[in-house]
């Protein structure tokens, strides 16, 4: 057996202090030499342990082998046969808890950098200019409405179009892409890449109708009554959660959704060239510790903040953000205020936030989530001076669709009830998948759900 090469090739990045002042992509991508070196470490284990960790079962060893052989076209084809959006997944998937966690070399502390190779392959194809189009089955005469153009909707639409169905995506916003466009910042997920992948889906024959708010412009029943044979709901979990503590409506306090939408979708970082403004003050507190919080904090820095805090009620071990994003944030100088929970906000007589009173917390017994429950330390209140606050506690489903669709069962949390294997909801002709079913999760799990639903829709319509 050849000796294992445990020298995982790291990703070149912009220097922390430089990148903290610009919105350009942080991770620069592998060069051809780096990709070859990394691909060559793969031992092509027959067990294909990595594939088990991949929610859409990409043929990982095969595409890596194609990279190693220099057959880039093959690598693209293998990758895209399972994953229509590799340029996105290669950038934002939490590989460390998926394919790279199950990779045989993970035990030795040096899993193959599958995500980086995936990105390399996608970027290679992009650089060639021309995207290869897969074969499209002959038209079935069936029409499908896909609601929402996030990863779940795009994946379902692409798969259904390849199967010969006529697909229309209805998207509420003026740009397609979902969270990839409005939430995840440019420096992590360049918008031209998202748009290239949206264009790819369009090139399969999918029509994208923007400015179409289902529940308002059309209802699900309108769609079913107007010639659509099936509806797939991929509307995400887009409604922001707030703390519900005193002072939360003061000026300068944003939901992460608003802060990120202004910055990313509306390009407020280019104000006044772009019309939409944003106020990122000098001292910013971001409440929460997921990817969304890291994105809020890192955007604040780039918008000119001097001091940015992550305020989190548990300890670092419980932080839900991807490891890479946590490290990036730290390198850029974001200050983590752990075991800290806001009690109330203070403002000035103009209605602007000036401070935040917090409790010190400690960890008690594990709770339902298995993580240790944070408990208030009595009498521990202290105040942090802030002029901007970004509340990044997570999101819940937006009820616009569920409120206007009869027979569609939702849970108490507002998520749509759907079969895990097929995506079928309680309403005939309606499927759902992605964050609207699971609550806020990941890009790849939304894509997986879109894929499974597409297969089920196809089977039902042909049946």
């Amino acid at each position: 057996m050849p000796k294992l090469d445990l020298n995982r090739i790291s990703m070149p990045k912009q220097e922390p202090l430089v990148r903290a002042k610009n919105f350009n992509e942080v991770a620069l991508g592998y060069t051809a030499e780096m990709a070859l070196a990394e691909a060559s470490r793969c031992i092509l284990c027959p067990k294909r342990a990595c594939v088990d960790g991949c929610p859409v079962e990409v043929d990982i060893p095969e595409f890596i082998d194609a990279v190693r052989q220099g057959n880039m076209r093959d690598a693209v084809r293998i990758l895209k046969s399972k994953n229509s959006l590799p340029g996105i997944c290669g950038r934002v998937c939490p590989q460390e808890t998926q394919c790279e966690e199950t990779c045989s070399l993970a035990k030795k502390g040096a899993p193959i950098a599958i995500g980086r190779l995936e990105r390399y392959v996608a970027d290679w194809e992009l650089a060639q200019g021309e995207m290869e189009k897969p074969e499209i089955a002959k038209p079935t005469g069936r029409r499908i409405a896909v609601v929402g153009s996030g990863p779940a909707g795009l994946t379902a639409a692409a798969d259904l179009a390849k199967l010969g169905h006529e697909v229309t995506i209805f998207e509420a916003l003026h740009i397609a892409g979902g969270v990839l466009m409005y939430g995840i910042p440019e420096f992590r997920m360049p918008k031209h890449i998202v748009q290239t992948e949206v264009d790819y889906v369009r090139s399969l024959g999918v029509e994208v109708r923007l400015d179409s708010v289902v529940g308002k412009t059309f209802t699900v029943d309108d769609l079913l009554g107007n010639g659509y044979n099936a509806v797939f709901l991929g509307i995400g979990a887009g409604a922001p959660m707030f703390l519900n503590i005193p002072g939360e409506n003061l000026n300068g306090i944003y939901s992460a959704n608003e802060f990120l939408t202004r910055t990313n979708l509306m390009k407020a970082y280019l104000f006044p060239e772009y019309d939409t403004p944003i106020k990122a003050g000098r001292r910013v507190a971001v409440i929460g510790a997921g990817n969304v919080a890291m994105d809020g904090a890192r955007c604040s820095l780039r918008l000119g903040a001097e001091e940015v805090y992550i305020v989190y009620r548990r300890s670092e071990a419980e932080m839900p953000a991807r490891l890479e994003e946590k490290e990036n944030a730290k390198e850029e100088g974001i200050i983590f205020k752990l075991l800290t929970n806001p009690k109330q906000f203070f403002g000035n007589d103009q209605g602007w936030v000036t401070g935040m009173e917090c409790y010190q917390m400690e960890l008690g017994e594990p709770d339902d989530s298995g993580r240790r429950r944070p408990i208030v330390k009595p009498g521990s209140e202290f105040t942090i001076d802030v002029d901007t606050v970004v509340v990044a506690l997570g999101t819940t489903p937006n009820p616009l669709v569920s409120k206007t669709t009869k027979d569609l069962e939702v849970t108490r949390r507002g998520t749509v009830v759907a079969d895990e294997e097929t995506g079928k909801t309680t309403k005939p002709g309606v499927w759902a998948g992605g964050d609207i079913v699971t609550g806020a999760a990941t890009v790849i799990s939304a894509m997986g759900a879109g894929k499974r639903a597409a297969a089920s829709i196809d089977e039902t319509l042909r049946g």
Partner: protein, 281 residues
């Protein structure tokens, strides 16, 4: 892209646009709004639906040119296109047979109040309308509002036309008169809505106002439009825009409308410079 079918200047700073948007037109109801973007780098702004024509597939909006976005819109002509026109958003105004309803419209919102007055009248209400403007030159649609009201009172702040004074004066007189008023609907500048609410409060007459905070998506996704009504936080774009005026925290609304004053000024200055240099070319 959405085509502008018609443009009309109601008064020098208030413009009417008829926009081709069949999907919105097929669903529009009185009191709802659309989100508009005027160009590819533009902001998303909310504008009330002033009228609709389901057969033609068109929506009418009436816009007061105040800042960068509304002034850019004001430069467009019939035949031009705008990139974003999403709606109908928000809940429609609650219409039923209340009895006698006073509809108060101020400034550009006279256009907003017309379809509401019309719907109220169709529902069998007696509709008394009051419209106000700063002066004679800013008045429009007196005839339209008159045609959907049982009676109409017009005021100008400076007395240059009809009755001198502000809309709250005739409103108060009506409440004090023998006429039983069952409901008041007041739409216009925030100050006007606040003072109408303060006027009706002692009389205990339910007063509906249409709030106008800053918005982004208009679909309940961002929370930018949050207001406090009866001590509870509401998202205007999905829970409103109509709310009980007696329960609204007006100071909070005023403060939140001023968040971007500096940026709005900068945008406007930039736009003015650009349009000046453009016209010199």
């Amino acid at each position: 892209m959405y085509k502008i079918l018609l443009r009309e200047d109601l008064v020098p700073s208030i413009h009417l646009f008829k926009i081709e948007a069949p999907a919105v037109a097929s669903k529009a109801q009185a009191g709802q709004f659309v989100i508009v973007r005027v160009d590819e780098k533009g902001e998303r702004i909310p504008l009330t639906i002033a009228d609709w024509d389901r057969e033609e597939g068109s929506i009418t909006i009436v816009v007061m040119a105040v800042g960068a976005t509304t002034r850019k819109l004001a430069q467009l002509e019939a035949g031009d296109y705008i990139p974003t026109f999403a709606g109908p958003l928000g809940l429609p105004t609650h219409i039923e047979k209340f009895g006698t309803v006073v509809c108060v419209g101020g400034g550009f919102a006279v256009a907003t109040i017309v379809p509401i007055a019309r719907a109220l009248k169709e529902a069998g209400n007696k509709v008394i309308s009051i419209m106000g403007a700063r002066n004679k030159d800013l008045l429009f649609w007196e005839d339209r509002l008159g045609s959907v009201s049982d009676s109409l009172i017009v005021t100008t702040d400076d007395g240059s036309y009809a009755r001198k004074g502000v809309v709250t004066e005739p409103l108060k007189e009506l409440l004090e008169s023998n006429e039983k008023i069952d409901r008041v609907i007041a739409i216009g500048p925030t100050v006007m809505m606040k003072f109408c609410s303060l006027t009706t409060q002692p009389f205990g007459v339910k007063t509906i106002v249409s709030l106008n905070p800053i918005m982004v998506d208009g679909t309940g996704m961002c929370g930018c439009c949050r207001v406090e009504v009866g001590g509870e936080t509401k998202f205007t774009c999905v829970d409103g825009p109509d709310f009980d005026g007696h329960q609204v925290d007006w100071d909070l609304l005023f403060a939140r409308q001023r968040i971007y004053l500096d940026e709005e000024k900068r945008s406007l200055e930039m736009w003015e410079q650009l349009s000046k240099s453009g016209s010199e070319k």
